[in-house]
Symmetry: C2
Subunit: 114 residues, 2 copies
DNA sequence: CAGTATCCCATACGATACTG
DNA sequence: CAGTATCGTATGGGATACTG
């Protein structure tokens, strides 16, 4: 049994998946690999996610210490930038291999890019 | 937009996560890395999963071509063995790095093994 | 600009009993 | 032994409107 941030996991893979699992978290991390992005820049990279879900996933990733949120203005219009923490950067090899495997599948299997 | 097995994904990472995502699939794959396991052997490795859920996840992995199911007896008691396909074996590096990252977290961060 | 608030739904997952 | 069947629940995520 593994524990992290108050949650219990039955397997070491479960712990990792508890942090990067779900429909959108690896997509967010994938886009943050190359550097800092603002909220609306992330939205442009992933137009099919809703504002609510993106906001929730960013908050969860921040609570888990994977990304950091920096606010540059005190009054609207706000400027907020998201980037990987040092801890989050340790996930880059995993995220990249997950991305590469997806690309491999569409290139070598019956998958396709529309 | 990426497509595989009739499903659409907005990102190359989404495609991979669509196949190995969820609460149990990486746990199953992790235990199958070392070779073939029977249904009850898998259950012993993951005692907290229900029969129904394990059965559903195995079926999904089989449909996606990740694992193969071999039946050795025609009448009860049945003997069924699960193992990775060649396609599924291409996921081993990802599953291992997911497992390793979980171990790293409990060793170097506030996580713990109970 | 960068989010919340509110409401709703689909689906993943769990518990338990049963069967070829 | 290796599952299904049935039922119930939890939560992840969607749609849309609104706000500091």
């Amino acid at each position: 049994m593994y524990q992290f941030k108050g949650k219990e996991y039955p397997c070491c893979t479960s712990l990792t998946m508890g942090i990067i699992g779900g429909k959108w978290k690896t997509v967010i991390l994938f886009h943050l690999i190359d550097g800092t992005l603002r909220y609306n820049e992330l939205r442009k990279e992933m137009p099919s996610v809703t504002e609510r879900t993106l906001s929730l996933q960013l908050k969860t990733l921040e609570e888990d210490g994977i990304i950091k949120r920096k606010v540059y203005t005190s009054k609207p219009p706000l400027k907020v930038a998201y980037s990987l923490t040092d801890f989050g950067k340790t996930l880059i090899p995993i995220v990249k291999s997950i991305a590469d495997w997806g690309v491999m599948v569409v290139e070598e299997k019956e998958g396709m890019v529309v």
